[in-house]
Amino acid sequence: MKKGPRHSPLSLDGAQEGPIVLRGALTAQVPGPVWDPLLRWPRDRLTLDLGSLEALDLNGAAQLLWLRRSLGGRGVALDFTQPPPALQPIWDLASRTLGPPPPKPPRPTFLELTGRNLSRAWADLLDLVGFLGELLSHLAGLAPRPWRLRWSATMRVAETAAIDALPVTALVAFLVGLILAFQSAMFMRLFGVDIFVADLVGLSIVRELGTLLTAIVLTGRSGSAFSAELGAMKANQEIDAFVTMGLSPSRDLVLPRVLALTIATPLLTVLADLAGLLGGNLVMVTLGHPVAVFWHELSSHIDASDVATGLFKSFVFGFTVAAIGCQRGLSAGSGPAAVGQATTRGVVTNIIVLAILDSLFAVLFYVLKW
């Protein structure tokens, strides 16, 4: 530092009756507890003699002014004598510049916060619905002229979203199938019905878990990436450039991503189903059931409608994950922090919407007896 080593450390000399004399260097290097005796000053007036200071910087002057504030709050008047002429300009500058403590910004009440959050959630919902409507209208407009879609971009996204996600999706599904089979087998074995583990695992994976796991993996992997990419483009004004050039971000940027994920999700779901069943099969084999028994049990209780149910859901989930990820990115604010916020909001919204959609599908399929 430019000050310090040449000067002696700060010391406070004096009795309670007379002024306290400050000697040495008064800078940011002063330990905070030095002021503790003065903060407990028992009288209603205190004078600090600054005439023997060897060095003073703005941080040192700020400490003296803070001391005056703190003692003033306790009804103690603090006066200073002038510092040496060489330090006078710094002291004058600090005394002139530092005003009263800035008022704290008012904290919103619980009612205000609730109202603000509800109004934001409502506006968010309207945005999302409007965005989905716009997307569907673009999709409908694309049907008679499919060549207008940016197929190369779509295929590139599909490759990144699907092929690169194969290992992680397969691994997660395999382990979930394995755990599910193991946990249920431990209990069902007590009753000698562990053969039905195959049905339990099969139905759970094919109808529910394979689809849901794939969608959650894609939410974390692709939906968040879409939010971040489009959020960064928004922050860099690339989205504005799109609009001013007469292009449509939802058609040219969002549609390829949504279509890519809508196509990729069912394919990944099939793979996840197979990996989950293999995990279950492995447990069954270790429990002494031959491979053929497991697959025979499966084929006798799981039919095409179960597989179709899962795949239908995966189409919807793929569309939803991509659309919400993109919408959150496009509605990002400005600045680097906005990209992170958009990504978080995208993932959270997606997980909530996936859970709600899955519940609705469960009720719907029950009613339709699928």
């Binding site: 530092m1 080593p5 940011a28 905070g32 700020a62 400490q63 510049t97 005003g99 704290k104």
Partner: protein, 258 residues
């Protein structure tokens, strides 16, 4: 021993390069006096910001010495000088304020980290620095809610938090309107004169150069180093360097470099 009289910054034989690339600038050397406002000038892409990154220890130079107040920035074993970052403050081009902290918290952060002051004293010191750069009343604002000029002033306040003897400013006037830019120039002069602060300013804004700088060096990418040095008036009118003449004439014509 560091003393008040030591030269705030002395650079000699410095070679500036990106890792794995041929040198951008070679044999860069200059010395700063206390309270001096010093400019690193040059056209876009000539390596000004890269030189600044070397000076503040973000990049390691291949050869050469950088001394702050008489102490070498890089020790013989390759380690950065202990506590060197407290010897100077840096204002980056965009301000680089922490977006989730208020201005007061941004300025208070170095004091909280590196001093033992009481929280109230830290807040008073941070408020004082903000007042010094003309941001009284904005203490609780978040950086995102301020204009570019205000963010740059707040960044200067943060750079001043530990009261270093030397401030590095990267393009302080870039993207600012003439009035705000002139206000920032005034602030730099005030700080240099009142607090005896030395400044190293990277810029290609000729108005600022002529208005506030005591001395400057002109860098050139083609020649790979310093092509001219001296006071702005000397560089503009008397320097024998063709690059200096071209740099300053282009600016006066209001051409593409201005």
């Amino acid at each position: 021993m560091v003393g008040l009289g030591a030269c705030p910054l002395a650079v000699s034989g410095l070679e500036v390069a990106y890792p794995g690339c041929p040198p951008l600038l070679s044999d860069v050397g200059f010395r700063l006096s206390k309270g001096e406002i010093f400019g690193l000038l040059g056209p876009s892409g000539c390596g000004k910001t890269t030189l600044l990154r070397h000076l503040v220890g973000l990049e390691r130079p291949r050869t050469g010495r950088i001394e702050f107040f008489g102490q070498d920035l890089w020790a013989a074993d390759g380690a950065l000088l202990d506590g060197h970052r407290r010897r100077f403050g840096v204002m980056f081009q965009g301000g680089a304020l922490f977006g989730d902290l208020s201005l007061l918290e941004n300025v208070a952060l170095p004091l909280t980290e590196f001093t033992d002051l009481r929280p109230g004293a830290i807040m008073a010191a941070a408020q004082l620095k903000l007042g010094l750069v003309g941001l009284s009343g904005y203490e609780h604002y978040l950086p995102a809610s301020l204009s570019g000029g205000m963010r740059k002033r707040a960044a200067i306040a943060r750079a001043l938090a530990l009261e270093p003897g030397l401030l590095f400013l990267d393009e302080p006037s870039a993207g600012l309107d003439p009035v705000t830019s002139a206000g920032l120039d005034g602030l730099i002069v005030t700080l240099a004169r009142n607090l005896s602060l030395s400044f190293v300013i990277v810029t290609h804004e000729l108005d600022s150069v002529m208005a506030i700088m005591d001395r400057a060096i002109l860098l050139d990418k083609r020649r790979g180093g310093i092509v001219a040095s001296g006071s702005p008036m000397f560089l503009a009118l008397e320097s024998p360097s063709a690059e200096a003449a071209a740099f300053f004439r282009r600016g006066q014509r209001g051409g593409p470099g201005a």
